[in-house]
């Protein structure tokens, strides 16, 4: 867990988040240092997922974000999503069904020599304890295995921040615990600033870094 003096990596300043129906969120400030997980909780419809989408730049048509997002000192809310270096993990793993597990991972590896990219993907697969599943059809994996592949894929893109939208919601209790360890460990080891949306208090990594949306 980063010390309180660790500099902020991700800074979110939200003045207003609007949907066609009206104001969803307003006046919100979140600072996340590298390696920390900031948790956002709140009732359904409170705007948790929309907040993450605003940081990623994937808000639905008709929604508008008024505010700023800085990542490592650089303003990112004016950049297209693919240039923000903000990873995304959702409740559904969203593996690409037509690609093998390895190809899913390769899609995330930045450009470079083919052999090196492949080696990175295989190493990431080993890291999430699935070294034998490179050529597997994602549809044949269990929920827990799919979640781990999705995590490996998100990390392979080398994000500076990670938006986690209830990534444990579909896992059973033992798997949730294992995924928490893997995910929080990877965030800490890589110095990523993570924002976690959850309904489960057990997911809260650091009670000092918790925002409750009403």
């Amino acid at each position: 867990m980063p010390s309180p003096s660790t500099p902020t990596l991700l800074q979110i300043r939200l003045r207003c988040l609007r949907t066609p129906a009206g104001v969803l969120l307003h006046d919100l400030a979140i600072d996340v240092p590298g390696g920390a997980v900031h948790t956002v909780m709140g009732a359904s419809g409170a705007g948790k997922s929309s907040l993450l989408a605003a940081v990623c730049g994937t808000l639905d048509e008709g929604m508008a974000f008024d505010g700023t997002v800085h990542l490592n000192g650089q303003r990112t809310d004016t950049l297209p999503t693919h240039q923000r270096r903000v990873g995304l993990l959702l409740q559904d793993d969203l593996l690409f069904a037509h690609l093998s597990v390895l190809e899913n991972l390769l899609f995330a590896v930045p450009a470079g020599p083919q052999a090196g990219r492949r080696a990175q993907a295989l190493a990431a697969l080993a890291e999430v304890e699935l070294p034998d599943y490179a050529n597997a059809n994602p549809a044949t994996l269990s929920g827990g295995q799919r979640a781990r592949v999705a995590l490996a894929r998100a990390l392979l893109a080398r994000p500076q921040a990670l938006m986690l939208d209830e990534p444990f919601a579909k896992l059973d209790a033992p798997l949730r615990q294992r995924m928490r360890e893997l995910l929080f460990g990877a965030v800490a080891a890589r110095g990523i600033a993570a924002v976690l949306v959850t309904h489960d208090a057990a997911d809260v990594a650091d009670t000092q870094r918790l925002t409750h949306l009403s």
């Binding site: 809310d77 959702l90 190493a123």
Partner: protein
């Protein structure tokens, strides 16, 4: 501030250009057709024509009967097969059925049911050995004198249209049922209904069908319009004294006399007015029938809602009690049937449809190689390839058919993909009516508009005009078949791809289009089949200078060259069937190798790379 305002503006500009590229000729054609109908003398002449009223009546009842039968057939087939292996098998056969053009189907059916056709000959062959004993005089030595083709009641026409529209409605229903969001919800609701003690079939009728029917409005309207206004099928299988109003309008439009031309335009508009009235009546019936339907289905839906609420409250005990109580109290044996809706009857329905199409296809294939075939012989005395040699000698016809179909369906597919990618959803919704207009206007009116457009633009009677006309005719079908899969595509995948650092184009090329490969290939095949089947635009815009398999087959249907007619009709079917087959091959699901261990990088390298990753 919009981070991607330039891309946003570029996307809107592209959508605007795409809308103009199709909207302009569409609106021009519509305006030209409207102008052609603004002739009071023509309307007076139409009203005083003795053929008008009976032709209109014939069009009305054949169109309505065919649509009603097609809908009933579709509903029954779905109720009896959805969720069973039979549904999967039926889905597999649909492309082959859709590939068979209406005109070819009509010709094939006529070869079967004509007084000298296969059915009568088979009947005679079966009865003949016992006839002396029965004394019924059924051992005919000449074709019976009954009118089983082009009958005055339009029964043959109704049969052709109903049988031909069932696969189309099944296909549009399948497009809805295969949308992940719709499929997930319907499956859950059907299961819920069954846990409440409703039999699978009852659950289907109460829960799934009302929802599906609401989504089939547009295809149903397209079927009604087609059935009321079709010309080529009515020429082949419909009555001739009088013919349907669409055929009458077509005959008048082809007349050298400008006054009769104008009367043809007025008749085409009369058909359009009838179609519009029926569509409005349908909408009103739906609005006011909703109360009745709601009451009819209220019981089942209310119970399902109750279970949903209980589940939402995470009260498993209440849910379990509801399940066991209702299952005990109502039709428990049906629970065991699960999705096996109706066993034998289900197989019978899908089997009958398959049999009808197989018989028609066989009639076309065999009919094209028949030589001398005296009645009542079941089999011809000689088989001959003469008709196919004649087809081969008509190379320009084959090449025109192929070239037009390939290029117009490719262009329509490119346009549809670009439109669905670039146009904002609000634009797509607003322009839907205009883009689907060719499906909702009588084909004869549409052909008239296209002809006027070609004349105004100086492209009548040449291949460019014909190509444009085919694109405009093909496009709504391609868009219709692609819109469902595109709409159902999980938009979150794009967000995930972008979060992985990939551009929109990388996502589209490597993820979206490969995942939609089957739908893209199928849409192309649909466009190809629609182009091959075009009759009026080919004749009218092409000024009769370009023959295709369809124009040849329809022209031959009026003559006595049975094998040549069957050969062209078979060609009309084989070309789309081939493309549908290729589309199925191109869109097949990927086969992954069996799980095998992949050698991980050497331990030291792995550690180093893990470190790099960190």
């Amino acid at each position: 501030m919009f981070p991607t305002s330039f891309a946003f503006a570029r996307k809107h500009l592209a959508a605007l250009l795409l809308a103009a590229a199709v909207g302009l000729p569409l609106l021009w054609s519509l305006a030209a057709a409207a102008l052609a109908g603004l002739d009071a003398t023509a309307w007076t002449a139409l009203a005083s024509q003795p053929q008008t009223a009976p032709a209109l009546w014939l069009s009305l009842y054949t169109g309505l009967a065919a649509t009603a039968l097609a809908l009933a057939g579709t509903a029954l087939l779905l109720a009896h097969s959805f969720g069973t292996p039979r549904w999967t098998r039926l889905l597999g056969r649909l492309p082959a059925m859709l590939a068979l053009p209406h005109a070819a189907f009509a010709i094939g059916l006529l070869l079967l049911i004509a007084p000298s056709g296969w059915l009568v000959r088979t009947g005679v062959a079966l009865v003949a050995p016992f006839d002396a004993w029965l004394g019924l005089g059924l051992a005919l030595d000449a074709p019976p004198a009954w009118q089983s083709t082009q009958d005055p009641w339009g029964l043959g026409l109704i049969a052709v249209l109903a049988l031909k529209e069932i696969p189309f409605l099944l296909w549009t229903a399948a497009a809805q049922l295969q949308r992940p969001d719709v499929a997930r919800r319907l499956t859950l609701e059907l299961r819920l209904a069954q846990t409440l003690g409703y039999s699978p079939r009852s659950a289907w009728w109460r829960v799934a069908w009302p929802q599906l029917l609401a989504r089939l409005q547009a295809p149903l309207l397209a079927v009604l319009v087609y059935s009321l206004t079709v010309v080529d099928v009515a020429l082949i299988a419909g009555p001739s004294t009088p013919p349907t109003l669409a055929v009458l309008a077509w005959q008048w439009l082809q007349d050298a006399d400008p006054a009769r031309n104008a009367m043809g335009a007025a008749a085409a508009w009369l058909l359009a007015a009838v179609v519009t009235t029926l569509a409005l009546a349908g909408l009103l019936a739906q609005r006011y029938g909703r109360g009745w339907a709601a009451a009819r289905w209220a019981r089942g839906v209310a119970l399902i809602d109750e279970v949903k609420v209980r589940q939402a409250q995470a009260d498993p005990v209440a849910a379990a009690m509801t399940c066991t109580d209702t299952a005990r109290s109502r039709s428990a044996p049906t629970q065991a049937a699960a999705y096996g809706l109706g066993g034998g009857r289900a197989g019978g329905g899908t089997g009958a449809l398959t049999l009808a199409y197989s018989a028609v296809a066989a009639a076309l294939a065999l009919g094209s190689v028949i030589g001398v075939w005296p009645f009542p012989d079941l089999w011809p005395q000689a088989w001959t390839w003469q008709a196919w040699h004649a087809v081969a000698d008509s190379a320009p016809v084959v090449w025109t058919t192929l070239g037009l179909a390939l290029t117009s369906s490719a262009a329509a597919l490119l346009w549809a993909v670009a439109w669905l990618e670039c146009a904002p959803l609000a634009w797509q919704r607003r322009l839907q009516g205009l883009l689907y207009l060719p499906l909702l206007l009588p084909s004869v009116l549409w052909a008239l508009g296209l002809h006027r457009l070609a004349l105004a633009w100086g492209i009548d009677g040449n291949i460019t005009g014909l190509w444009l006309a085919h694109i405009l005719c093909v496009l709504p079908y391609v868009l219709l078949s692609l819109q469902g899969p595109y709409g159902g595509f999980d938009a979150r995948l794009q967000a995930v791809a972008a979060s992985l650092g990939r551009t929109r184009w990388a996502f589209v090329w490597r993820i979206k289009w490969p995942m939609l490969r089957a739908a893209l290939a199928a849409s192309f095949a649909v466009g190809f089949a629609v182009s091959v089947a075009q009759y009026l635009p080919t004749l009218y815009v092409g000024a009769g200078r370009f023959g295709t398999a369809t124009t040849e087959a329809v022209a031959l249907a009026a003559g006595g060259q049975r094998s040549l007619m069957a050969a062209f009709a078979a060609l009309q079917w084989l070309l789309p069937a081939l493309v549908f087959g290729l589309a199925a091959w191109a869109g097949r699901a990927r086969r992954f190798p069996a799980p095998a261990r992949v050698a991980p990088p050497a331990a030291s390298a792995s550690k180093k790379l893990s470190h790099t990753l960190q």
